[in-house]
Amino acid sequence: MLSIKNLHVSVGDKPILKGINLEIKPGEIHAIMGPNGSGKSTLSHILSGKSGYTVTEGSATYQGKDLLDMPPEIRAREGVFLAFQYPVEIPGVSNVYLLKAALNSIRKHHGQSEVDAMDFLTLVKGKVRLLEMDEKFLYRAVNEGFSGGEKKRNEILQMAILEPKLCILDETDSGLDIDALKIVSEGVNSLRSPDRSFVMVTHYQRLLDYIKPDFVHVLAHGQIVKSGGPELALELEEKGYSWLEDAEASA
């Protein structure tokens, strides 16, 4: 699915990622954990195509293609989805309009016809119920006046409708209370499938109580300093990040 090799990324002259290696197979869930400033968000941004970053070395191959060479909308149409840490507001554009435009651009890319309006509404309403959202959300402007939890749920709704192959969740748990966290996690779990992979970027272990990862990687100072199974997250919860950062510093 995704193969990252020796990836170095800078913002301006400042190196942020310093040689990331990561292999993600279809159906796997990888959690990327790490302290603030370790490069977690940069990793989600560079994979999804946000501008302002320079790749100085290394590669990222997605389904056999050079991911870093694709414009962001092509990545999206090819199945890369970023659930934003801070979803933006778009005044005057209804949620349902955005969803339909997005779905149709993806379908067009794959040579499919535009989705029929009735079929689309049926699809959307089903997903809305799944995420325990109010149907009124569909007709409100994208994220405008939404609470933090509503915005995050809206991201998962978009994911559920666009059915991406590689889902990157950037701090999806931040700003969520426990009830919202449960609903969002259930939404994500319902999307798990053998041909869909997830990269969950998170600061805290608590998200992993609800979405069980197959692998946990710890990012510090722009490198993956430790990888392991779900038990690694529990260890981090107990000891914090400093023992790993110290270990790296003394290494």
Partner: protein, 482 residues
């Protein structure tokens, strides 16, 4: 400048799709303006004597006036002697009786613009008056409208057939001395539409005028007069396009609306004159005076405009709220791109008691364009309990354009309530990236964000034109991404 700011800037090259020229045999006056030219103009149009006097009076007044300089626009002085004041496709003696007699090239031009004049191919439920350079070439559905008692004809025809209405109403809202361009228009206007809706009649279809400038070095001076008698109701729409030419062309129109007791006029404009090329060469100077008099009690006038064209736009569709309980509305989207300049807004003059006005203005600037909202809300002493609400939003696309807001508020009546809200925002890189990350191209994303920004205004447009306006905005921002 970051990569996506660059992308936004690249979005701005648009192609103007109405820029073709129609080759025609025409009757065109030599450039120049004096009393003889005006007399010749009046004669060729076979006008009654009082019109020539009206024109000459306006011309003499105009000569004492100076071109206004207060607007936030820049242009070189206009040489009024280098403009031709009349150009019309050659036609048979009495003008065309049916479409068969109209030059097929003219019909073809309108067809290309998506305005078929053949009633068989008509836009359902819309009657069209087609004004080509200085003359009206066709008016559709005249018969059907006549059955309802509605007069919808070229104003040059109304001068001959309905002189009593003309005498009573022409210049009664915008007098000849009103302003420089209005005085010039009164002296030299050539054609335009005339509408009279009799008492109690609800006009059975949308009325629309399509203005086309074709000839080079010609000014278009059209005059529109709409009278809605007591209890009547009319919805009117105008559209405008012109060929791409390197020199600037002047369009100085006057539109007068009169709404009597309980009458409602809805006036919508989709203005897409040639805006000039991306270096600012050529384009139409759109210097227009539009004003409505809500003369009767409970009358209502609603202006909706979508302004995407013209090198310079200078226009302030206004409402004089004379009648008690009368209502004035102004909904505007003005988009400027490349080197376009717009100074536009409205005036709401509250005179009667309990008069209400609403202003919603959306300005969008892209490229190196300057976009100005200028508005006046004036509440006279007599206007007890007058209310106004103004909302004025600006959206910037890229980082080389400007948005300016000049609201003027004058209130002489203590019971009046006047509200003003204004915002300025920018299409952020985060919004753009978000949309792209959902699979939309940068172009589609900008178009969607801009359309969202304009939604409150678009919902005021008649259905079929709302779709056209949305497409037009998308087109105006279309271009080359990355």
């Amino acid at each position: 400048m970051s990569a996506s700011t660059q992308e936004i800037n690249n979005l701005i090259n648009q192609e103007y799709k109405q820029g073709f020229v129609t080759e025609l045999e025409t009757t065109t006056f030599l450039p120049g303006l004096d009393e003889d030219v005006i007399a010749k103009l009046s004669k060729i149009k076979n006008e009654p004597e009082f019109m020539l006097e009206y024109r000459l009076k306006a011309f003499r007044h105009w000569q004492t006036m100076k071109s206004p300089e207060w607007a936030f626009v820049k242009f070189d002085p206009i040489d009024y002697q280098s403009i031709s004041y009349y150009s019309a496709p050659k036609r048979k003696e009495d003008g065309p009786k049916s479409l068969d007699e109209i030059d097929p090239q003219v019909l073809e031009a309108y067809k290309k613009l998506g305005i078929p004049l053949d009633e068989q191919e008509r836009l359902a439920g819309v009657a069209v008056d087609a004004v080509f350079d200085s003359v009206s070439v066709a008016t559709t559905f005249k018969g059907k409208l006549k059955d309802a008692g509605v007069i919808f004809c070229p104003i040059s025809e109304a001068l001959r057939d309905h002189p009593e209405l003309i005498k009573e109403y022409l210049g009664s809202v915008v007098p000849i001395s009103d302003n420089y361009f209005a005085a010039l228009n009164a002296a030299v206007f050539t054609d335009g539409s005339f509408v009279y809706i009799p008492k109690g009649v609800r006009c059975p279809m949308e009325l629309s005028t399509y203005f086309r400038i074709n000839a080079a070095n010609t000014g278009q001076f059209e005059r529109t007069l709409i009278i809605a008698d007591e209890g009547s109701h009319v919805s009117y729409l105008e559209g405008c396009t012109a060929p791409m030419r390197d020199e600037n062309q002047l369009h100085a129109a006057v539109v007068e609306l009169v709404a009597m007791k309980d009458a409602v006029i809805k006036y919508s404009t989709v203005q897409n004159w040639y805006p000039g090329d991306k270096n600012g060469l050529g384009g139409i100077y759109n210097f227009v005076t539009k004003r409505a008099d809500c003369r009767g009690e409970n009358s209502k006038v609603s202006w909706t405009q979508v302004e995407t064209g013209s090198a310079i736009t200078w226009k302030y569709p206004s409402c004089v709220l004379t009648g008690d309980n009368s209502v004035g509305e102004f909904y505007s989207v003005a988009l400027t791109n490349n080197y376009q300049q717009a100074d536009t807004g409205t005036k709401m003059i509250h005179i009667g008691k309990n008069t209400r006005s609403t202003i919603v203005s959306k300005g969008i600037s892209a490229g190196k364009a300057q976009n100005t909202y200028r508005g006046l809300v004036k509440v006279l002493k007599s206007a007890e309990n007058a209310r106004n609400y103004t909302q004025c939003d600006s959206l910037l696309v890229g980082d080389q354009c400007g948005a300016h807001t000049f609201p003027y508020i004058e209130v002489k009546q203590p019971s009046a309530q006047v509200e003003h809200e204004a915002t300025t925002s920018k299409i952020s890189e985060d919004q753009l990236f978000f949309c792209q990350q959902r699979g939309l191209s940068a172009e589609d994303a900008v178009s969607m964000i801009v359309n969202g920004f304009c939604k409150e205004v678009f919902k005021e447009l008649p259905m079929e034109f709302a779709v056209e306006a949305q497409a037009l905005l998308g087109l105006s921002l279309e271009g080359s991404v990355g």
